[in-house]
Structures are given as structure tokens and as C-alpha cells.
């Protein structure tokens, strides 16, 4: 009996220690895709582009060390980009295994990118594999890009630090520092597409070819520099050069599975403020007492917005109360807004601008697309006693009829490191600042 037990013990031990099941995988027997792109196919349903690390210097995961060999043709920041056409995402990636030396795994995929064209036709067929396939994690980010996903991924590189995967995660987190785009994990996007309360939205991105910024040549230098505060730009339109081409700005709006439009950078900020997702960002307004001068604020939400909804004569009414706090970043006009009597004026002015912006953004989603990305349906649902009644009412159909009242309270809490702005003088003893005018 003892012998039998010992034999059994060793058999089990061998079985466990050698991991001899068909599911054992050496970590570096696989390549881990960082980004998956989906474009419309020409020969087949979908064109899939994947990016995976080469495990050489700076190879995506940030584990690469020198000595692994030189960079290969087509290598981007220590990663390779491969494209294939297939009937589905899973089939395509499986097909790519025929030309890859290691098994392609999804477990570390950070982002999935849909081209705008594909998003407009509908992403239903591509949501299922991510929601259903065990390797894909629902914390990956969803992006809709202008142009093709293939080109987008080819430009997905890092110029700061070696790890592309780290760069990708930090790039998505930039939403918290600017508020120009939302951070949308697949989990949230997918839930919204099947939700009776709301509809989906995601990051809108594009490649900046650095052509929107005009050169500082003779004619341009002579022009006056106009003040533009609410620059409602689309991805790829930010006037800049340098750094990486990829930029996230604005958000793609979906009706069900199809993209129906997009919100620009400031509309996105208003959306984030109204939904309580806005963390912080520099928000610039024009000084009403000194047109042409800007007042930038370090803006944040004072508390989560309070949203309530009820019906009045069968019309849904939504009330949104938003409270924001700001610190003064600068007063270009040097008007003494720091004083108590003026700071209240500034508060009202800031609140009016934000309120107008939010109302305009809500109207746009109602009138142009009838798409409730704000999730007001969740508050409307409070007015129904059963899910059956709520589904029969079909909020998503009635969103456009809703009357939405927005109330914003702004409070400039701090004035930075200065308590007042002294006038600037020149050698003619002329006070240039408008404070004393």
C-alpha cells in the first residue's frame, strides 16, 4: 500500500512539475500584440494590422537589452507591424502565425483601433471576439482613428523611454491631464453598445502630418496673432510639429454599433465635465473686459455633477448641476481679478461659458444624432418601476425630445503664486497694463 502511494505521489509530482498539459506556454515562446488595428478589407471582410515587440532593444515591453541584434526592416520602436486580410480578427491573427516564428497572443494587447470608415459601417462583428475570447482583456482601450488603422499603427512609436507598452498606457492616461479626450476601456464601450440607458463613445485619434502649422516666413510674421480659445479641432489638426504623429483629441460618437459623428476637443471637455469624468485641464477663456487677452484656468470638478430626471406632461426633463473649481493660471490683461468684487464676476463669466458649451454639446447630440452618450437614460430609468416598462418606452429613441437644464457654478479658488498684478511700465512711464484705464 505504501509503495502504491509513493508511486502515485511521484506520478502526480511529475505531472505537475513538468506542466505537461497542452496549455503550458513558455513566456518567450509567444509574442504579445500591443495594438490591433481593423480596416475594411479589399479581398476579405477585414484588414487586420498588429504590432508586437521584437524582444530586441526597446522591444515594446521595455524588457529588451542590447545585444539582441540590430533593428529589422519595418521595425517601429522595437516592434514589428504586420497586416493581413481575413474573415475575422481571430482568423486573421491565426493566419499571421504562418509567418511569425512565435505564437501570437492577445493577453497584453493594450489597444484596439478601428478606422473611421469601418466604425461608420459598424463594429458589431469585431466586438464579439474581444468580449468572448479569453485572451483579450476588457481593460484594453478602444480608439477610432482618422485614415487607416494600418497607417496609424505604423506610426505608433515612443520617443520618450524605451517601453512602447508603457508609452501606450501613459498616452491614454493623458486624458486625466488635459480632458481633450475620454479614456474608454473596452469594457465600458461594449457595455454601452448593448445598454438601454446610453450609447457608446470612444477616443478619436489621428495622425498629424505637421502641415497645419504655418511656417514663420515673411508674410505670416507680419500678421497679428488673433486669440482663439475654444479651438474645436479634429485629430490631426492641432497646429504643431515634432513629437510623435499620433494625437488623441475629441471623441467618436456611436449610435449602437455605428459611428455617427464626433465631438471636437472642447465639446469633449464639456462632455467630460457634464458626466463627471473631467479630472483637470487648462481651460482658457477670453477676458471680457479686455478682448484679445486670455485668462487660462487650471480647471477641475469641485464635486461629481448631480443629475436628476423627471417627466413633465410626458416630456423627459433632465437637470444637471455642475460645480467646477479653478485656479488662475494667468491674467494677460493684468486686470485685478484677484479682488473679491471682481473674482465673483470672473466666476459668473467662467460659469456662463461652461454652461453654454455644455448646453450646445448636449443639443448637438440630440439634434444631429439623437445619441445619449451622457447616460441621462440612467436617471430617466428612476421614473420607471420595471425594466419592461423602461424598455417599452425606449429611451434611446426619445432622447432627442428631452429638455436638458444645465446649471453650472464656478469658483475660482486660488490665484496661483500671485495675489495681484502690478502694472508694467516702459521707459516713457506709460502704464501698459489696462488695469488703471
Amino acid at each position: 500500500m505504501r509503495k502504491l502511494r509513493l508511486i502515485l505521489f511521484f506520478v502526480i509530482l511529475v505531472f505537475i512539475l513538468t506542466s505537461c498539459t497542452t496549455d503550458r506556454h513558455e513566456v518567450d515562446d509567444q509574442v504579445y500584440t500591443l495594438m490591433i488595428g481593423c480596416d475594411k478589407g479589399i479581398e476579405n471582410k477585414v484588414r487586420i494590422t498588429i504590432q508586437f515587440p521584437t524582444y530586441k532593444e526597446g522591444g515594446g515591453g521595455g524588457m529588451g537589452k542590447k545585444g539582441g541584434g540590430g533593428s529589422e526592416e519595418g521595425e517601429v520602436s522595437g516592434t514589428l507591424v504586420a497586416t493581413i486580410e481575413a474573415s475575422s480578427i481571430l482568423e486573421g491573427i491565426n493566419l499571421l502565425n504562418t509567418s511569425t516564428t512565435r505564437r501570437i497572443s492577445f493577453v497584453h494587447t493594450k489597444t484596439i483601433v478601428f478606422s473611421e470608415e469601418m466604425a461608420k459601417e459598424g463594429v458589431r462583428d469585431y466586438l464579439q471576439p474581444i468580449a468572448r475570447f479569453r485572451e483579450a482583456r476588457r481593460i484594453m482601450q478602444i480608439i477610432v482613428c482618422k485614415g487607416t488603422a494600418e497607417d496609424f499603427i505604423k506610426d505608433n512609436k515612443t520617443q520618450i523611454g524605451e517601453s512602447l507598452s508603457k508609452a501606450m498606457e501613459l498616452a491614454a492616461k493623458q486624458s486625466e491631464n488635459s480632458g481633450y479626450f475620454p479614456e474608454v476601456p473596452f469594457q465600458e464601450f461594449y457595455t454601452a453598445t448593448i445598454s438601454p440607458y446610453r450609447q457608446a463613445f470612444t477616443i478619436y485619434a489621428g495622425l498629424n502630418e505637421f502641415k497645419t502649422i504655418k511656417p514663420l516666413d515673411g508674410e505670416n510674421v507680419k500678421k497679428n496673432s488673433p486669440l482663439r480659445t475654444e479651438y474645436n479641432m479634429q485629430p490631426g489638426d492641432i497646429p504643431r510639429t515634432g513629437n510623435r504623429k499620433i494625437e488623441f483629441i475629441g471623441m467618436a460618437v456611436f449610435n449602437g454599433e455605428k459611428m455617427v459623428g464626433s465631438l471636437s476637443s472642447y465639446e469633449t471637455r464639456y462632455f467630460l465635465l457634464a458626466t463627471g469624468r473631467f479630472k483637470r485641464g487648462i481651460f482658457t477663456i477670453e477676458d471680457k473686459n479686455s478682448p484679445g487677452d486670455a485668462i487660462p484656468f487650471d480647471l477641475r470638478l469641485a464635486r461629481m455633477p448631480k443629475t436628476s430626471a423627471h417627466f413633465e406632461n410626458g416630456v423627459p426633463v433632465v437637470n444637471v448641476k455642475i460645480s467646477v473649481e479653478a485656479d488662475l493660471g494667468a491674467i494677460q490683461s493684468r486686470i485685478a481679478y484677484e479682488k473679491v468684487n471682481k473674482i465673483n464676476d470672473l466666476n459668473r463669466h467662467l460659469a456662463n461659458i461652461i454652461q453654454g458649451g455644455i448646453e450646445k454639446t448636449i443639443r448637438k447630440t440630440q439634434q444631429e444624432w439623437n445619441t445619449d452618450i451622457f447616460g441621462f437614460g440612467k436617471k430617466i430609468a428612476h421614473n420607471f418601476s420595471t425594466v419592461t416598462e423602461f424598455e417599452q418606452y425606449n429611451w434611446l429613441k426619445h432622447y432627442k425630445e428631452a429638455k436638458v437644464n444645465v446649471d453650472v457654478i464656478a469658483n475660482v479658488r486660488r490665484t496661483g503664486l500671485m495675489m495681484s498684478s502690478s502694472p508694467i511700465r516702459n521707459n516713457e512711464d506709460t502704464i501698459l497694463s489696462k488695469e488703471r484705464k
Binding site: 498539459t21 497542452t22 479569453r134 476588457r138 476601456p185 448593448i194 423602461f390
Partner: protein
């Protein structure tokens, strides 16, 4: 007779609660949300109340025959033939329960972790552990159950708290689900999902009295109601009801969406750890009960020689379902919606027979005291 030893009330509560809540690691929360949508989290308490009511009727039977376990009561109240028949039904039921539970475990483990491992390899390993537990006997299972219960509770708290950034209280509205009628109907029917607590009636002699039996049963039912209700609530808060009804395992999905930073994510290992622990304890109890009821009904003093034959029977049951759809739609649906017709209604029938025939047990001295 089999010497089962003594177990304390806390140990009994621990193993009973584990036995009751293991289903929440599988498809159960998704099924409840599918049937009752936003009302699922509180409608499951209707099932608990229903089960408590039936358990109290079972308690009346046990109180009528102090010092006897359910197998003994079957023999006394219903006669040798019917008594044995009832006992064998329960023995068979627990074999079936073990088999279906193992197969559900295997399907889940294949869906999430080991997709290409042969199911028989997982089943054999699992069965090996279950046989070892059963070999150790009820006392061994109870001691391990007590230890595991603490670990399972800590793990559950971790998994349910960490996804809080995804929680939205508005997802619980409209609160009425598919209506009061549907909630009551499914809530009452799914009392079966909490009927496992009746197993305490088979080990009542180890619990040292009917009062401990009642205490352990009611407390474990209350615990299970709170735990399963909370799991369904968290699933609704994170996923809304349409997606909540899609998930194969609500708890696993909750653990997979945890993301705080690049360094704090992928906590599903916690889930796997407690999931395996709970499943092993549950199947060990049901497997042990199947063997022990069989032996008790035929007055066989040693149960250990029967472990391997019963393991073989359980293995055969695990092979019955052809796919996961069959497990979900037929087998687990039967266990969680209709098992009370066996687990509660046979003892209630025996109670009625006992009342009609005027059969009663002899009060023990300590019971009288």
C-alpha cells in the same frame, strides 16, 4: 455504523455556506440577472427566505426524531423499503450533484484558463483530491472547510471591492426588474439554489443536537443570501443588466476588469485560488455524503472501500453533458430550479407519513434538558 466524529457549529456553518455559495463562482449570477434583471440582487433573497421556510419544516422532522439522521428517519418513518429507496435517491442525487459540479468547474476552467487541456486530466486530478478529502472523513472536510471559508471570504471581499471604479448605482434602476410577479415566481422557484443546506440533516449526529442543526442551517442560509446577493449586486453595478446576463462567470469578469495602474491589475489569480478551494470543498461534501448515505442505508460500517466505485460513478456523470450549453440549460438549471423537489419535498413527505403513522423518535436526555 459509520463513525463520523463531531464538528462544531462554526465548522458546520463554514462548510454549509461554502456549499451554498460555490454556484456564485459559476453561471448562477448571470442566470439570475437574465431571469430577473435589475431585481436579481434582492429577488435572490426571496429564494433564501423560501429555502429557510422549507428548512424549518425539515427541522420539524428532525426534531420529531431526535438522535437520528435523515437516513435513519427515512427507515423509521417510511419503513425499510421506502426508507432505503429515499436514501438511495439522495445518494444518487449527490453523485449527480458532484458530477455536474465537477463538469461545470471543468468547463469554466477550460473557458478561462486551460483551454486545450483534456477535460479528463482535470477531472481525474480533481477527483483525486476529492477522494483524499472524503477518505479523511467529515471531520477532515469540516476542518479544511473552516480554514478555507476565511480565505474565500477575504478573496471575495478583494474581488468585489477592487472593481469599484466601474460601479454605478444607477444601473440598479428601474428597481422592479421584470415585475413583482416575475421576481416572486423565479425567486420562489430558485429556492432550489439554496436547498443544499438540507445536507446538514444527514450529518446531524455530528452537529450534536437539533438546535445546532437549526442554528447552522439558518445562519449559513443567511450568509449565503448576503454573499450571493452582493455578488449579483456588484455584477449589476459594474456591467448593467444586459451584459450582466451574458457573463459566464460574473466574479471572474469582475476580477478581470480591475485596473488601477500599470502595476496593479490582473488580480484574477485571487479568484482562481478561492474558486478552486470552494469547488473542492463543495464536491468533497457531496461526494462524501453520497458514499456515506449509501453505507448508512445498508448499515455498512466502513465507507472507505466504496470511495473508488463512487468516484467512478461520479466520473461517468461528468461525461454525461456533451457541451456547456447542455450543462447550463439542462443540468445546472435542474439543480438550481427543481432540486428542492428532491431535497426538501422527500423529507416533507416523510414528515407527513410520520404524522399520519404517528411515528416519533425518543427524546434524548440532553435534548430534554
Amino acid at each position: 455504523m459509520i463513525k463520523e466524529g463531531k464538528i462544531g457549529t462554526i465548522e458546520a456553518i463554514s462548510i454549509s455556506t461554502i456549499f451554498l455559495i460555490t454556484k456564485a463562482f459559476y453561471i448562477n449570477p448571470g442566470t439570475v440577472i437574465k431571469l430577473m434583471s435589475t431585481a436579481g440582487w434582492y429577488a435572490t433573497e426571496i429564494s433564501v427566505l423560501g429555502s429557510m421556510l422549507l428548512f424549518l419544516i425539515l427541522y420539524l422532522l428532525m426534531k420529531r426524531f431526535p438522535g437520528n439522521d435523515l437516513v435513519g428517519i427515512f427507515d423509521i418513518a417510511a419503513g425499510k423499503f421506502l426508507g432505503k429507496l429515499f436514501s438511495l435517491i439522495f445518494s444518487g442525487f449527490f453523485v449527480y450533484y458532484s458530477g455536474v459540479n465537477i463538469r461545470e468547474f471543468v468547463e469554466m476552467i477550460k473557458a478561462y484558463i486551460l483551454p486545450y487541456t483534456p477535460p479528463s486530466a482535470i477531472i481525474i486530478l480533481f477527483m483525486g483530491i476529492v477522494i483524499a478529502y472524503a477518505y479523511a472523513g467529515l471531520e477532515g472536510i469540516a476542518r479544511m472547510g473552516y480554514l478555507s471559508f476565511i480565505v474565500i471570504l477575504v478573496g471575495l471581499v478583494i474581488i468585489l471591492v477592487l472593481p469599484f471604479p466601474f460601479y454605478d448605482i444607477d444601473n440598479l434602476f428601474p428597481m422592479g426588474g421584470y415585475g413583482i410577479k416575475a421576481s416572486l415566481q423565479y425567486g420562489a422557484l430558485r429556492s432550489s439554489a439554496y436547498s443544499e443546506v438540507a445536507f446538514l440533516a444527514f450529518i446531524i449526529n455530528s452537529l450534536q443536537g437539533t438546535k445546532n442543526f437549526r442554528k447552522a442551517g439558518l445562519i449559513s442560509l443567511a450568509f449565503a443570501g448576503i454573499i450571493i446577493g452582493t455578488i449579483i449586486l456588484c455584477s449589476l453595478l459594474a456591467f448593467e443588466y444586459p451584459q450582466g446576463s451574458e457573463n459566464l462567470s460574473a466574479l471572474f469578469q469582475l476580477s478581470r476588469i480591475v485596473y488601477f495602474s500599470r502595476f496593479f491589475q490582473r488580480v484574477e489569480t485571487v479568484f482562481i485560488f478561492i474558486w478552486v478551494m470552494a469547488s473542492v470543498i463543495t464536491v468533497s461534501i457531496t461526494f462524501y455524503l453520497a458514499v456515506s448515505i449509501f453505507c448508512k442505508s445498508f448499515k455498512i460500517p466502513k465507507y472507505r472501500p466504496f470511495l473508488l466505485p463512487f468516484a467512478f460513478c461520479t466520473f461517468l456523470v461528468t461525461l454525461l453533458p456533451e457541451n456547456i450549453s447542455e450543462i447550463v440549460e439542462k443540468h445546472t438549471n435542474f439543480l438550481r430550479s427543481y432540486s428542492m423537489f428532491i431535497v426538501y419535498f422527500i423529507p416533507i413527505l416523510v414528515l407527513i407519513i410520520a404524522i399520519i403513522r404517528g411515528k416519533k423518535g425518543v427524546k434524548e436526555k440532553d435534548e430534554e434538558a
